[in-house]
């Protein structure tokens, strides 16, 4: 993707926060019979950003995307594109293109006819030369030059995926919608395509809205992530915000991995809450807004925030090393605490060297900086 043609170039200004929203959802709900697939969604999508909907199966991600594309009309609320309510605008009138999970390439057309399909619908008509030129440049972007007259079913999954991408971006849509575009690819290819997708988005500057249930994919690609649950958006933020400041256990669990300890708040001093677990342990973490003494809460401690040592430390918890998993630059330990159960600890290779390597069965002490652990609402 080294060479990007001029007419697809766009200089995205990701620094500016005053970018006008290219699309927005205003209190959008969608009900299918008795299922509320989307529940009062509110969201502004900024020009040029890479936004992801992240959530488990059935949480309404596809429904949200299909309302932007125009395949579903919202039951209530407004879908805005470029400031205009488009609730009842047919899909073929929306300046939006979609990459389908199954690619949905036309089996009776070859690669370049598939890519040129959208261009051929334009009125007034584009000349053959213009269409061929744009198709050629799109093929260049997805690195499929030379595949023009191939049959789409003769291509590999990754190539089909690129044709689907080219078929969408060649139209220079205001919004590119991608519904789990990489789900059908194997792990290695998926990684490659993730990088290509990100490069592509940066270079052509089209606003991307991606649907995925793969947190790694969402974290590595997006400028912003909407975490969804049961038809609702539970939190929206940058990958780092969601990782460092999840507002609920659900988000902390869905974005990255974490250790969770249930308890009730005993005291809050200087923003640090002490909570009592059912077994009487006292644990500390940073208090988050809206939680008061006596509330049932959940303490979230990321595995990499936990320190482990052979010597007892004040406030430390004595554990037994249960399992040691070598992960290259990290080592993951599963340590067993008599009351808390299994705790996940991730130590970087740096510390791992020499006598800081722990063996299975060894007695260790774990602790964490209370400021780096979060007291969250338990749901």
């Amino acid at each position: 993707m080294a060479h990007i043609p001029v007419d697809l170039q766009y200089t995205a200004n990701k620094q500016s926060d005053s970018r006008p929203p290219i699309a927005a959802l205003r209190n959008v709900s969608k009900v299918f019979g008795s299922v509320i697939a989307a529940d009062a969604l509110n969201l502004s999508i900024a020009q040029g950003e890479f936004l992801s909907f992240l959530g488990p199966s059935g949480c309404g991600k596809t429904t949200a995307l299909r309302m932007l594309a125009g395949f579903e009309a919202p039951t209530s609320g407004d879908v805005l594109i470029d400031g205009q309510a488009v609730n009842d605008l047919e899909p073929y009138r929306r300046p939006v293109n979609m990459v389908f999970q199954s690619y949905a390439l036309f089996p009776h057309l070859n690669v370049s006819d598939n890519i040129g399909y959208g261009l051929r619908q334009r009125r007034p008509r584009l000349s053959r030369g213009e269409i061929a030129g744009k198709v050629g440049r799109a093929l260049e972007i997805v690195r499929l030059t030379g595949f023009e007259s191939r049959r789409v079913w003769e291509m590999s999954g990754g190539q089909q995926q690129r044709v689907a991408l080219a078929r969408a971006i060649v139209n220079e849509p205001k919004l590119l919608l991608l519904d789990e575009p990489l789900a059908a690819l194997d792990r290695k290819l998926r990684k490659e395509m993730q990088i290509e997708l990100q490069d592509l988005q940066r270079q052509i500057g089209i606003t991307f809205v991606l649907v995925t249930h793969d947190q790694e994919e969402a974290l590595s690609l997006s400028d912003r992530i909407c975490v969804m649950r049961g038809g609702r958006i539970v939190q929206t933020g940058s990958p780092q915000d969601l990782y460092d400041q999840p507002k609920s256990r659900y988000v902390a669990d869905f974005v990255g991995t974490s250790n969770f300890f249930d308890g009730t708040i005993d005291a809050v001093v200087d923003g640090i809450a002490t909570l009592a677990t059912r077994s009487g342990l006292r644990l500390q973490g940073a208090a988050t807004a809206g939680l008061s003494v006596g509330a049932a809460v959940c303490l979230s401690v990321r595995p990499e925030q936990i320190r482990m040592s052979r010597d007892a430390v004040p406030g430390g918890l004595a554990c037994t090393v249960h399992n040691r998993i070598f992960l290259g630059e990290h080592t993951e330990y599963l340590v067993q605490h008599p009351a808390l159960g299994t705790v996940n600890v991730l130590t970087p290779r740096l510390i791992e060297s020499g006598d800081m390597s722990f063996q299975t069965g060894e007695q260790v002490h774990i602790n964490w900086n209370p400021g780096r652990a979060l007291v969250l609402s338990p749901d």
């Binding site: 594309a69 125009g70 395949f71 047919e90 899909p91 073929y92 009138r93 939006v96 293109n97 979609m98 389908f100 199954s102 949905a104 390439l105 036309f106 089996p107 009776h108 399909y117 959208g118 619908q121 334009r122 079913w153 078929r167 139209n171």
Partner: protein
Amino acid sequence: MRIYAVCVYLFLYTPIAIIALFSFNAGRHASQLQGFSVQWYARAFKNPFVMDALETSLFVAFVSATLASILGTLAAVGLQNIRGPARAVFDGVIYIAIMIPGIVIGIATLIALVTVFDVLNPLLASLWFEGGQPPRLSMGIGSLIAAHTMFTMALVIVIVRARLAGMEKVLTEASADLYATPLGTFRQVTLPLIAPAILAGFLLSFTFSFDDFIIAFFVAGSETTLPIYVFSSIRRGVTPEINAIGTMVMVASLLLLIIAQLILRRRPRS
């Protein structure tokens, strides 16, 4: 079990084989073989009555199959968007149309058309301008085409519907997403993808109409199709010429059916 199967096949195909065999008989008698000859085929082709009947049959088959393909395809595509109980009713009606015996369709069409003509003809005559000769609706090639179209349209609907059901809905969505209007989507995506089914439906309809005797017998009026000609000449005795005609009709029909099957078998790759 195997013997039973062999008996069934023998019972089914021996008469057909005999017809084909005797069509090459050099002699005049239908019961004893007297050497090989294709003279009866030549005779059939030179017979003006046979050629007239063949022409009528081909014309009726072509027109009714064309109409059935167009109307059946439109109906199948339209039915796609109907859901729920209404859909079940439509489906039921279509299957019933296929399963009703030809003789019932023949009689029913005859009675219905005669009744309608009885009402319309006086009406036309009274409304027609002074002095002119009012047209008289009667049984004939039109009623024959109509009856065949009606029956074979159900065949086309079933075949095209199966193909539509196998076509991914996401393809029409992708087309709409790429700015094609509903009509554009139909022309550029749906039609090319169901074309093989339409062609197969056309061939089956053609074969059906070309071979049909029962319905034609009731509604053809004074028109003579090939099956009607064969029927009426058999009453004067079976000649090798009839055998030759039968053999040719059979081979042509089989070929069309095989082609239709091959078209339908070819799986769309995706």
